[in-house]
Symmetry: C2
Subunit: 338 residues, 2 copies
DNA sequence: TTGTACGCGTTATCAC
DNA sequence: GTGATAACGCGTACAA
């Protein structure tokens, strides 16, 4: 339970002034080489570690990056976060993490906590019921860059890293139609969220292009969970659909599983596609057609971008959005042998 | 880019002393009710937020919990972390996260970073090549509780939350034997890690009990990745095995997938079991027999325990280890209809 | 090249 | 009930 060593302790031991220690530790040129060595050596011997708070307080800034996501326990998010951590840690920053649990009110508190900790930058994926983003104003006004990813705010032009959800949804649906599907059910999530809204828009556009009727009955909105996939399977059978486009692989896989158990043949009776290219999409049988959504890369890119803005002190709000490519991965679940 | 508001700003505006503001803000009884209200009201109006560093510096302690894990991008870990975040955040703590990427040298650096940030407590799952834990000594000597989970140190009696890996491995293997398997391959990870070593020990004990020969050829050590599962499948076929026990579901699912594609019938030709009860184990076909390893609960439990120790200032090293129950979930991949 | 003195924002202690 | 002051550990302008 010994107290942490400070530069004062080192100063006393070496009969030097604390300021000299401070400078010597960071090899400031004004300190003689010999004393530098002496200082660094004894600092190590004494087990000195700089007090981050004192430094942050003094410098009025931190090397902490904050991150707020809707849910931590998802494979996709864990990929994104791993990507972020790698970049951020490499640059000497630390990571403060919190989840909103899909609730704006908690998101607001989280933003305040991030502000209290004076993060150098903030990476955010919005809760599904977040309608507007005024709770980020205060932190942005302090000059702290905020970068959104995946679930981004609609309507305004805040900097964000996204994919083209509309286009991806279009490509999936078009593909299913080309495989002969006439009645395609779309399973998706909360429509307040840009990602699900846009995927639905892409779905509609494809139907329209191929002159297939759009029927609200065919759009199933739920929480995209494993259970939701099972429930949806029964609706799909009742609706006599011959195609399914699910907004995530997790739910798609469980839906397909249930369809098979209900006697449907995939892809003969029903073609199906998911979204994300989660590991599970490769392992289910038949392999699931899906959209490659590279979470790890998105995390890396977001982190790099944020750090660049912090380092160069450029106003992040001047950046145009970055859109990642998301190729359609066609697999057995949607391919009908002619 | 306006500077953050401090208690001095509020003091000036209200013609009070900073110390009074400080007290008023936390509703100290020595401040009159009227001034309390005035202070809190104007603080809100001015958008005051306390500076965490100043507080931490002054109080010589933080409300930050550190967490170091081998890899962030795994479904299991994301579950654990979600559990931790919930508890920790609820208690008013923040979460500092880093990953060792399975490398001790980075783990050591991470521990130092955690120390630099004077975390109030540390939750750790060790890198696979961590042989000893002296790098935690310094932080423990400062009275900062360190609690290990999942991948815990061997040999010493540091406080930890684990499962009984040996017993779980035994139960799985015994079950496979009871289903008629005579030649069981065990696919597992780095043997420096307690979890994999113990699961192997359980596997051996079961073989011994049923008088089946133990053959090192039948133990495949790899990184338990998707690709490793595919490679292992081919070895399994060469080895003419009729049972497989894989140390995680991820790898087990891909292995089973490959076995099926190579013409093997599951469970008729080969019975197979995984570990973790990941979502994927429920969705593959046939459903995968596995061990229920409740990550979310483990995270919650670890966090609660750590916080209790911080709050009550009891030396965590006096605690006995906590062992979670891990029921065997028998599913179609291992059940032979007689 | 090194030392002195002050400030970063907060709180505990003592005085009034 | 409120104010002045010192201290938490560090960095830096200025002095020596």
């Amino acid at each position: 339970m010994n107290k942490p060593v400070t530069i004062y302790d080192i100063a006393k031991k070496l009969n030097l002034a604390p300021s000299t220690i401070s400078r010597g530790l960071k090899r400031h040129s004004s300190v003689s080489h010999r004393t530098q060595e002496r200082i660094i050596k004894t600092a190590e011997e004494m087990g000195y570690r700089a007090n981050t708070f004192a430094i942050n307080l003094r410098n009025r800034k931190t090397s902490t990056i904050g991150i707020i996501v809707p849910k931590l326990n998802s494979y996709f998010m864990s990929q994104v976060i791993a990507g972020i951590e790698g970049v951020v840690n490499n640059a000497g920053y630390t990571l403060l993490i919190s989840q909103s649990l899909e609730d704006v009110s908690k998101e607001i508190i989280n933003v305040q906590t991030m502000f209290d900790n004076r993060v150098a930058g903030l990476l955010v994926s919005l809760a599904e019921n977040t309608k507007e983003t005024s709770h980020f104003n205060r932190i942005q006004k302090q000059g702290i860059p905020v970068l959104f990813f995946d679930r981004t705010p609609m309507g305004n032009d805040l900097p964000a890293i996204t994919i083209n959800n509309e286009s991806a949804g279009y490509k999936v649906t078009k593909h299913l139609i080309e495989q002969g599907a006439k009645r395609i059910v779309h399973i998706t999530g909360n429509q307040l969220s840009n990602v699900y809204r846009e995927r639905l828009a892409g779905y509609r556009r494809a139907l329209q292009e191929f002159k297939l009727p759009f029927d609200t009955q065919n759009v199933l909105i739920n929480d995209l969970s494993e259970q939701a996939g099972i429930d949806a399977a029964h609706s799909i059978i009742k609706l006599m659909a011959d195609g399914v486009f699910v907004a995530n692989d997790h739910c798609a896989a469980s839906c397909m599983h249930e369809l098979k158990h209900s006697g449907k043949k995939i892809p003969e009776d029903i073609v199906i596609a998911g979204f994300n290219n989660d590991m599970i999409s490769r392992i289910v049988d038949p392999a699931l057609t899906t959209v490659d959504y590279p979470g790890f890369q998105m995390g890396e890119l977001a982190a790099k971008n944020l750090l660049a803005h912090i380092a160069e002190r450029i106003d992040i709000n001047l950046t145009s959005n970055i859109i990642l490519k998301t190729p359609l991965l066609i697999r057995a679940s949607s391919v009908r042998k002619i």
